[in-house]
Amino acid sequence: MIPSHYSPEEARGIWLYLEQEDGRLLPVARELLGKGRQLADSLGVPLTGLVAGKSVAHLAAEAIADGADEVIVAEHPLLEPYTTDTHTKAVTEAVLGGKPDILLIGATTNGRDLAGRLAVRLRTGLTADCTDMTLDPGTGLLLGQVVGFGGGVVASIKCERHRPQMATVRPGVFPLPVASPSRRGGVKQLPVTLSEQDLRIKVLERESRRGAGITSAELLVIGGRGTRGDFSLLRQLADALGAEVGATRVAVDNGWADHEQQVGQTGFITRPKLAIVLGASGALQFTVGIADAETVVAVNADEEAPVFEAADYYSVDDLFQLLPPLIREIQSNRGKALVGQR
């Protein structure tokens, strides 16, 4: 094997690439800070955040409050918006200078875009989309837990002789840290030399959307005939979860939802992490639309409803009876989780 650019002996510290957009840290960046702090404490090494963009110095204080000991700030107009080449260059320079032991990146589309290229440039190992991370008790090596084969297999991956040990981390797995504004830390400006030549990708247009659309939704609340046309509780549930709202064919036929929201054979095939199906009986033509969902929860008043066969968890209930207490509890949980948020 060809070695990486520096050896394990030279490597020290945990670094986090903190993805930001329009001057705000992405949620996954904060999740990394929380988990990173824990790992850094276990290893007794510093936790360093790396932020790149046009004007991002103000994010250093936030990162420190969330647990970073030091923040490296890379600022340049060509670093905004994110494109592969400029960020790969900046991060490579920083890493070769600082020689971290571990480098973690949030597994967003851009995070994975960056990490895949970076790992080859750095000649190191990369573990993708970790759903958990631990440290090997003997060696202190990072163990990344990943899910493969459509969720059927869980594997533990390590990177023994190459540095930095890289991993991308699935968003939403680790909890948000509780910010401590009184924490102290250092800020370093990384000198960035970039020119138009370094930029091969030109971003012509960028559109952030409010709703994900059901086909890319990670959380989906789906209503069927049992809603009897009243989707208001479903929308409340969806809002509480940050989920999209889908519908069965019957619901769309009756005008209770748009065709854009139709889940199923003649509608859309969805692939959410969680699908909550309310008041739908679950004909085959519908269930093919959620067959790839990681977890399916079904609620239907009919105990013989076929949808229960396609569910991981189910409740024989009238959704109008079950939803109010459910929504209350979720809202209350959410309130508790947001306590630490700025």
Binding site: G267, L284, Q285, E304, P306, E309
Partner: protein, 398 residues
């Protein structure tokens, strides 16, 4: 007059091809328009779809267009052919146009995926092949062998659709009650290919038929009983396995059992039933009386006929690959059909086809019809076997 916007430019090569693949079937058409008048699409839309024009365009070697009926709407119900004064095989012409569309990769959304699902998963629903036999969990069925008189071919819909699995299980109960020695193919049961045929990819169908023919010959399949009339139809019309290969639809087989006295007496609490003639049993194969004789063998069952029965049967809308295409609610034939069924005062709308069952069930939902439910003949007969068997909870059908 003034119908066509511009002079037609005819492509000789395309004309040759259309004539060839339709076997010149459109040639006999003398443009009387009867097909357009009887096509069920005219019942659900403000205007009939112009089937006559589609035949005219085919005569000219054109693939439709300019107001001609969309060939992808056809459910292959066959009503047009039945009433055509010249016996033009209109569904056949339409099928050939679909076949040509595949060569041009110009087919509606969802149909390519249908074929890929058949190719990778062995069923048109994209369901895991390893789950094909899950419907038979706990039934202890035997793999078909030389000691069996019957091969029970469940088919993809009954294997995977939760609602239809009940039909398959009902048939198992009935066959056992009659002491029939039957076997199944289990997870190795192949897709018959009817979905592929329905959407017009004859070339791919050839591959499927060849592989399945080899299998049926290897295992020595003789009498094969299907759940779906579509599977029955394709086995009868498109498979040449051998002299002894005899596909039957389950209603034919049950009719044999009934007339042969091989079933215990069938009795249910009084129930008014009406019957939907599936196009692929009725118009396609003239199987009208056997399903009725089975129903009438159930004591307590009163059979009432709907308007438009037998040769005049109204299609449920599911044939011709329409199960994989979207139809707006107000345009579904089944909506009309369930209203006709309800008009008989029947409590149960019986049928003998998975597509009919799914479409009519959907029709009841859309119509908001709570007084009636759809059941398959097999389920009714199984009910009639009670208390000889484990009871099927009456009224527990969805």
């Amino acid at each position: 007059m003034g119908e066509d916007d511009e002079p037609l430019t005819l492509d000789d090569a395309l004309w040759d091809r259309i004539v060839q693949i339709t076997s010149g079937a459109a040639a006999a058409c003398y443009q009387c328009g009867a097909c357009t008048a009887v096509c069920p699409w005219g019942l659900v839309r403000s205007e009939s779809i112009n089937v006559r024009k589609l035949m005219r365009r085919s005569q000219l070697g054109l693939q439709g267009g300019n107001g001609a009926a969309d060939p992808w709407l056809c459910t292959t119900c066959g009503y047009c052919k039945a009433l055509c004064p010249r016996g033009v095989d209109i569904p056949g012409v339409i099928h050939s146009l679909r076949r040509e569309a595949w060569r041009q990769n110009a087919v509606p959304k969802g149909l390519r995926s249908l074929l890929w699902d058949v190719h990778w998963d062995g069923n048109p629903w994209g369901q895991p092949p390893s789950q094909r036999f899950a419907w038979a969990r706990g039934l202890d069925l035997e793999t078909f062998g030389p000691n069996h008189d019957l091969l029970f071919y469940a088919g993809c819909s009954a294997s995977y659709d939760r609602r239809l699995q009940k039909v398959a299980r009902a048939l198992v109960a009935i066959l056992r009650a009659a002491g029939v020695r039957f076997g199944v193919l289990g997870e190795a049961e192949p897709c018959c290919g009817e979905g592929v045929l329905a959407v017009g990819n004859d070339e791919y169908l050839e591959e499927i038929v060849a592989a399945n023919t080899r299998l049926f010959r290897e295992i020595g399949a003789r009498k094969v009983m299907t759940v779906s009339p579509h599977c029955f139809d394709i086995f009868s019309s498109h498979y040449t396995v051998g002299e002894e290969f005899r596909p039957v639809h389950y209603t034919q087989f049950l009719a044999e059992l009934v007339s042969g006295g091989r079933l215990p007496p069938l009795a249910i609490d009084p129930l008014v039933v009406t019957y939907q003639d599936p196009c692929y049993l009725g118009r396609k194969h003239d199987i009208y009386e056997q399903p009725r004789s089975v129903l009438q063998a159930v004591d307590g069952l009163e059979l009432r006929e709907m308007d438009n029965n037998r040769e005049q049967g109204l299609c449920c809308g599911g044939g011709g690959g329409r199960m994989w295409m979207e139809t707006p609610a107000q345009e579904r034939f089944a909506l009309l059909r369930v209203k006709k069924a309800a008009a008989t005062g029947a409590q149960v709308l019986a049928t003998a086809c998975p597509a009919c069952l799914a479409c009519l069930d959907d029709g009841l939902k859309v119509a908001g019809e709570e007084s009636m439910r759809v059941m398959d003949i097999a389920e009714i007969v199984e009910m009639g076997l009670v208390p000889a068997l484990e009871p099927v909870a009456q009224g527990a059908m969805r």
